[in-house]
Amino acid sequence: MPLAPLRIGCAAGFSGDRTDVAAPVVDALVAAGGPSFLIFETLAERTLALAQLARRLDPDAGYEPLLDDLLRPVLARCLDHGIRIVSNFGAANPRGAARRIAALAAELGVKAPRIAVVEGDDLGAAAQRPLLRAAVGAGADIDAVMETMVCANAYLGADAIADALLAGADIVVTGRVADPSLTVGPALAHFGWRRDDWDRLARATMAGHLLECGAQVTGGYYADPGYKDIPDLAHVGYPIAEIDADGHCTITKPPGTGGRIDVHTVTEQVLYEVHDPAAYLTPDVVADLSQARVVELGPNRVRLEGVRGHPRPATLKVNVFSEQGWLAEGEISYAGPRAESRARLAAQVLRERLGTLARLRVDLIGVASVLGDDAGAYLLAQSHGEARDVRLRVAALDDDKARAERLPREVTALYTCGPAGGGGVRTGLRQRLSTRSCFVPRGDVPARFVMMDAA
């Protein structure tokens, strides 16, 4: 008899995801019985830098701002039914998140959970500067990057998560870990695989990869009327992976939820953010999807097979964020007869008035905007049409704040100076977060877990 599968439900695919999706996932895990985990993935590339900036203003902040909203609906039920929770919602302050979860459990009147935090990803301390300098490399602006650094975090793997679970944690809170590691950690702990069992680690990694963006595998972010119709998209269900002892996974979703899981929705997510399919790099393993197969077992039940693994990389990826320059934006609308002509004239006026800014981009929303290029070649190639509802949008980057501030002023000035009928001005100015990625030797980034009741 095969062992019962391990079930891992995912109830968030990014910071800002829906907060009412966890309850159906937890209900399905409870109904299925057997060992199960709940994960929340809430840490995109940029989110961690924003969290670090929040923590500068408030030392108790810096973890997922929606933490309460995500956990409150399901925390008691998870603890009651032995569903353990793993999430990177610790962001820039995993200990702060752990304290908040302990307080929330007390408010809800449930037995205090054992909470572990995973640490070691944060390379922002002064002592780490030589390591970062060596890793970022001798670029012209290395000094500026170091002086204005907001945060530097390594992508940790699943080992410390698995160790925390094996030590008895009910909840594991991490900062930066590779997204699939949120799934690999529970699988490692549950099945007791060797840490160099590359095929099984690769399969669990791909299960995590399919889960980590939430509804993106269940028909969310897929619908395209007439081509890719999805039932009840407004209530799209979040995914559950059934993982077997060899690491293979079957993706399902809670009964009664919207969305659909089929060969096509799963294949789109298999390749999401993948480069060379024969070498999908994570801290845990190099996964090889080149021979992967996607098999429909039944309605909303799809299995991934054929994934192989190779030894994990010797280095860990590090993202370094620094505050460099200012991003200014402005928008104004033109509508009715000749709207496109008036918007194009406004664009020409702004280019003349703002030509000295370091980088400037002008879009005509409703004519050409997102598919185009900064230089405007794509927009120029579009023949002048008769669009009757056009929003002009202009953006610029400049190292000098005073120069950048000219952009919102010039857009606002179109109210009286510009073409006829412009309205609905919105402007913004914020510091730009610049990213550098680099690699550091694994041995220089010791990951560890700390059980909070023992800390």
């Binding site: 007439g226 081509y227 294949t267 993948v274």
Partner: protein, 131 residues
Amino acid sequence: MSARTVPLYRAAHGRTGDKGNRSNISVIAWHPALWPLLVEQVTESRVAAKFAHRRPSRVTRYLLPNLQAMNFVLDDVLDGGVNDALNLDSHGKALAFLLLDLPITVPDALREHLAGADEPDSFQPEPWRHA
């Protein structure tokens, strides 16, 4: 045998992913019978031409025959990536739909496998395609 020119989205679907200043776009056949035609016509050079205005430094195509899918990796097309781009869509999320507009030629024998309905007239590529 006669054939018809249709946009790629009739024969395939796809999704964009981003990491740093690099974009990947999957192209997945709606039906296994359409797969050889995609391999033949949706080439690195045609995709590079389609994205010429985004100035890719390299376009690489990976084939996944078991999935009847291909994965295009476009280097340096995101104007610096999510934190540096001036584009509203700094992730390049919409780029798959630029690729899915690529014209392809489908022989009549395979037309039954296409998604969506035939357009009233033969598909006319937008001017930008010839740039």
